[in-house]
Amino acid sequence: MIRPSVQTRHALARLTLPAMVVASFGLMLVGKVDTVLVERARIAVYDASAPIYAALAEPIGQLHGAIAEVAGLWELREENARLRDENERLRRWQSVALTLDAENQQLMAAMHWIPDPEASYVTGRVVADAGGVYAKAVLLSVGPNHALHKGQIALDERGLVGRITEVGSRTARVLLITDMNSRVPVILESSRSRAILAGTNGPLPLLLYWSDGTVPKDGERVVTSAEANAFPANLPVGTVRYNASGVPEVEPDANLNALDIVRVFDYGLNGLTAPEVTARVAAGRH
């Protein structure tokens, strides 16, 4: 083997840092030119590391469970009283719901209502935060033979979580409704007025563009709208809250801070794909 002289080696060593800096700028250029390549590389890295997170999820879950149990022991009495109270209230609501359901069925039968198609869904575990500092997203572990695709809708047990933006062979990335690039067409439930739910990267997304005369009311429920064929109608999103500066925000129903199990629904909608894809299509047109 030829060994370079000491001077040459020193010169080469001096050159590596500038060379790597140039390579970084090259990467920036590549990232601007070919977003698909970058997206593939990201999801490949996440696919490769997903088994680590899936393996870690179990012991971490047990640890969380143990901590919650110890914490729960302290406030067992208050918790019990609260649950009794809540149970009472829920039982009243249940009877109301059953009556309304029966009435709804009758009315639908009378009107020859065409029922919405049943949506199929898959369930995945949230294995990692996939947002980085400037985005709000989570990574789902979904097993190798899934049929997920971009634009599908993720819900937890309470409400809307977000949409699938990237799909790998074992993982899928869900952009949360709190992300600053997320826009969801919604309906204010009591006034049936349309609006847009815009994420801000903060915990509470904002309501924008509601129609004049129908100001969102504090405590009003917000559900998805079927407009633009991106979401099915009437998925629970959250409740309106006014912040200190008088701007209507929405407190999401979904527990976005501690997502564990998420269901991904296929409603067969193709009105809009994920933000990145639309951005790319728009860029391609110019």
Partner: protein, 184 residues
């Protein structure tokens, strides 16, 4: 090559086990940096966990560039940066450039900082973290053509400053024991 290989004297034979040991000690800084970065994304359910990844990357690059620059060469720093870009959903190249800048600053300050006490290194690290976070924010804002909220950046700097001892102390212990090539 470890110092002991260049200095004459009696030492154990270079068996396969010992060779592996030497390789491991040389690869320790890079490997642990990668692993810590992957681990920082595990679903711990901590508030503000997203800021952990850039903080871990920055601390590891800073620490090893200062104390073991031979094991934290520019290509390794570049790879750490690329991993930061991919895992942290940054525009590609931003993490690489900021990590290389950190490395460059650490190289420049190395002689001066090697004579300083821990607290001085910590203070200077905080200043560097400020600069790097600002650079990161500016680059991402420019590359995505949008003015990003500055809140996460401030949080990131605070976290980096607060977490430095928690990362640096175990790394110092490792640097003096299991990662020291002269003890192979």
């Amino acid at each position: 090559m470890a110092l002991s290989e260049r200095v004459p004297g009696v030492r154990p034979r270079l068996t396969v086990g010992r060779r592996l040991d030497i390789v491991w000690r040389h690869a320790f800084p890079g490997t642990t940096s990668f692993l810590l970065m992957l681990l920082s994304l595990a679903p711990f359910g901590l508030w503000g966990q997203a800021a952990l990844l850039p903080t871990v990357a920055l601390t590891c690059v800073w620490f090893w560039s200062l104390f073991r620059p031979a094991a934290m060469s520019p290509p390794i720093v570049f790879l750490i940066g690329v991993l930061l870009d991919l895992l942290g959903f940054l525009p590609p190249g931003v993490g690489a450039l900021t990590m290389l800048t950190t490395f460059g600053i650490a190289q420049r300050l190395r002689r001066f900082l090697s004579r300083q006490r821990f607290i001085v290194i910590w203070l200077i690290f905080t200043a560097v973290a400020c600069g790097i976070a600002a650079m990161n924010w500016t680059l991402v804002s420019l590359l995505t053509f949008s003015l990003l909220p500055p809140g996460p950046v401030l949080f990131q700097v605070g976290l980096a400053a607060a977490m430095y001892p928690a990362v640096a102390v175990p790394l110092t212990l490792a640097h003096r024991s299991i990662a020291d090539p002269d003890q192979a």
